[in-house]
């Protein structure tokens, strides 16, 4: 995994050498790694853009303490594709294929924090697709949710909703 990230960072540093890089924005991840991006990328991230606007563009280094250097390249990659108008079903399928469940959720939080509507909608659908046919127990584990029903309450509810329990995938313990 570490290798994969660094290869992505390499591809980013290539884009840093772009001639218009004088106005680049530096995004600083929670673990203090600096990512230089074009202002157009920052525009996709509403949280970042409003920070820039508030300071009249004087500040171009933006700390993002909630986002790790592992997640940020993915966010930047998605924003680049979005600006280029190259978000296709194929790209999206490739994009999430490399992400495990925990990573998808982390990225979902990042998209929320940065306020990137498209990425947020997309990841929300990705998570929905991943859990749609799963069992109640799987979903509790997936989201780290405590079951607060009494056994009687749960049994009653399950009986009422018995028809919704058909066609559920068997749980696979390894999936997280």
């Amino acid at each position: 995994m570490a290798e994969e990230v660094s290869s992505q960072m390499n591809s980013l540093s290539i884009s840093e050498t772009n001639p218009s890089s004088s106005a680049t924005i530096s995004l600083v991840s929670g673990d203090d790694i600096v990512f230089k991006v074009e202002p157009t990328i920052a525009k996709e991230m509403e949280t970042v853009q409003s920070f820039i606007d508030e300071t009249d563009g004087k500040i171009t280094t933006i700390p993002l303490p909630n986002i790790s250097s592992h997640d940020l390249p993915y966010v930047i990659e998605y924003c680049e594709k979005s600006i280029a108008g190259k978000i296709t079903k194929e790209f999206e399928a490739e994009f999430v294929k490399k992400l495990n469940n925990e990573e998808v959720k982390e990225l979902f939080l990042a998209a929320n924090y940065l306020n990137i509507k498209k990425l947020l909608d997309f990841l929300s659908q990705v998570i929905a697709d991943r859990i749609a046919n799963k069992s109640v127990e799987y979903v509790r584990r997936y989201f780290g949710i405590e079951n607060d029903f009494t056994p009687e309450e749960e049994a009653k509810l399950r009986e009422e909703l018995a028809w919704t329990f058909t066609g559920v995938d068997p749980d696979d313990e390894d999936e997280n």
């Binding site: 959720k105 998570i127 509810l157």
Partner: protein
């Protein structure tokens, strides 16, 4: 156990993107989720997601024969995802008992809004065996996704519709349309004939008389006789029900009559909130005589006016801004050749009707139902490609409805 914990608002975002069946199952996850799923804000959010990303058609399937005369006898309503339909699989849909209208003691669907289908049951009252008789009609709301259905409500008595009994009875025969009043969040049925208009509100369960139409939507007698067509049943859009009307013309329209020029038609709409009428003109400057009676429909929240011209083309106009007559835009003009319609060989018996059912998400493929074939057209205008649907069941495409899965309650 999971490391990354999502805040409630993101959980709600994910849940609202799930199919309704999964959402209901996950009520068992924990109490906050059980509560969330019944929350009106969540229900509305899920409805909007469905509308945006997961359009369906409610297909009307007939078991015995494709003759729609039997529509009243034994049919089923099966929600089918639009994306799946566009992939055009050759399949036979398994009809679960849950989808049979008979089992709900209903005949027909009169409309589909926000995931609710308005069904009705109608039976002849016992009276003299000859001559005009009365019908009792009542309604129920059904949400196929949650499997909830309301009681029968709104029972109303009105004359039987058979044209055999002549104009007098027929003009008292009630026609029905389904609508949603956005100002009060209530579902309504409009019942009307030339000298009477009533509105029924689900929830209050009362009928109320309102003023009559300024111009009564025409009644297509030939098609009623064939019971085959979806003509001028009233289309719902944005808190209003819309019909076509022809000023200074007879209420009954039969195929013996000459079709007026397009600029002679008006669209009459009833605003369900104010219970008032408005009139809209069809696209201006069209003084052509359509070869077949025009129809109105709704595609992607836009009112559409469509007609056949010169027995060679089918034309669809879209009103981009609802209520703004200047916003009419010609959307498509499709030649019969492209659709491979041999018009001369099919025009007998009854008029060839075509009905735009819905548009794909990317807006490039339109689904067209027609009165003479057992399959609908999937027409992609960008590359001018035509396919016919390949569902092997008997689908009454002309009666099929736009539908979305929702959690909206039946009251």
């Amino acid at each position: 156990m999971s490391r990354v914990v999502l805040p409630d608002e993101l959980i709600s975002e994910v849940l609202s993107s799930l199919p309704v069946k999964s959402i209901l199952r996950f009520k068992c996850v924990c109490k906050p989720w059980e509560f969330l799923v019944s929350d009106p804000f969540f229900i509305e959010k899920q409805r909007q997601q469905s509308q945006k990303r997961n359009m369906h058609l409610a297909l009307i399937l007939c078991r015995t024969t494709c003759d729609s005369y039997y529509y009243d006898r034994d049919c089923s309503v099966v929600p089918f995802p639009l994306n799946n339909l566009l992939h055009n699989p050759s399949i036979t849909i398994t009809v679960l008992p849950h989808y049979r209208l008979n089992y709900k003691h209903c005949f027909r669907v009169i409309g589909s809004i926000n995931g609710l289908l308005c069904l009705f049951n109608s039976y002849l009252t016992a009276s003299a065996p000859y001559g005009p008789r009365d019908r009792n009609t009542s309604f129920r709301l059904w949400n196929p996704a949650t499997k909830k259905i309301s009681q029968f409500v709104g029972k109303i008595t009105h004359p039987e519709s058979h044209p055999y009994f002549g104009g007098e009875t027929l003009s008292n025969y009630l026609r029905f349309a389904f609508g949603y009043d956005k100002s009060t969040y209530t579902y309504k049925v409009v019942a009307f004939c030339p000298n009477q208009v009533k509105i029924f509100t689900f929830g209050d369960n009362v009928w109320k008389n309102i003023q009559c139409f300024p111009i009564v939507p025409f009644y297509h007698v030939t098609l009623v006789r064939h019971r085959h067509q979806r003509v001028n049943e009233g289309v719902y859009l944005n808190g209003t029900v819309n019909w076509l009307a022809i000023p200074n013309s007879e209420y009954f329209w039969s195929d013996d009559e000459d079709i007026p020029k397009i600029d002679q038609f008006v669209i009459v709409l009833l605003d369900l909130a104010t219970e008032t009428y408005l009139q809209l003109l069809p696209p201006s400057g069209l003084d052509e005589v359509p070869s077949i009676l025009p129809t109105i429909a709704v595609l992607r929240d836009c009112l559409c006016f469509s007609y056949h011209i010169e027995s060679t083309h089918f034309v669809i106009w879209m009103m981009m801004e609802f209520g703004d007559q200047k916003s009419w835009t010609q959307f498509l003009k499709i030649s019969y050749d492209d659709l491979q319609i041999d018009y001369d060989s099919i025009r007998y018996n009854y008029p060839y009707m075509m009905y735009p059912l819905c548009l794909s998400e990317d807006g490039e493929t339109i689904i067209l139902a027609n009165s003479h074939e057992e399959q609908a057209f999937l027409y992609n205008w960008r590359d001018n490609r035509v396919e016919k649907t390949r569902i092997t069941n008997n689908v009454l495409w002309m009666f099929s409805q736009n539908y979305i899965e929702s959690l909206v309650t039946t009251g």
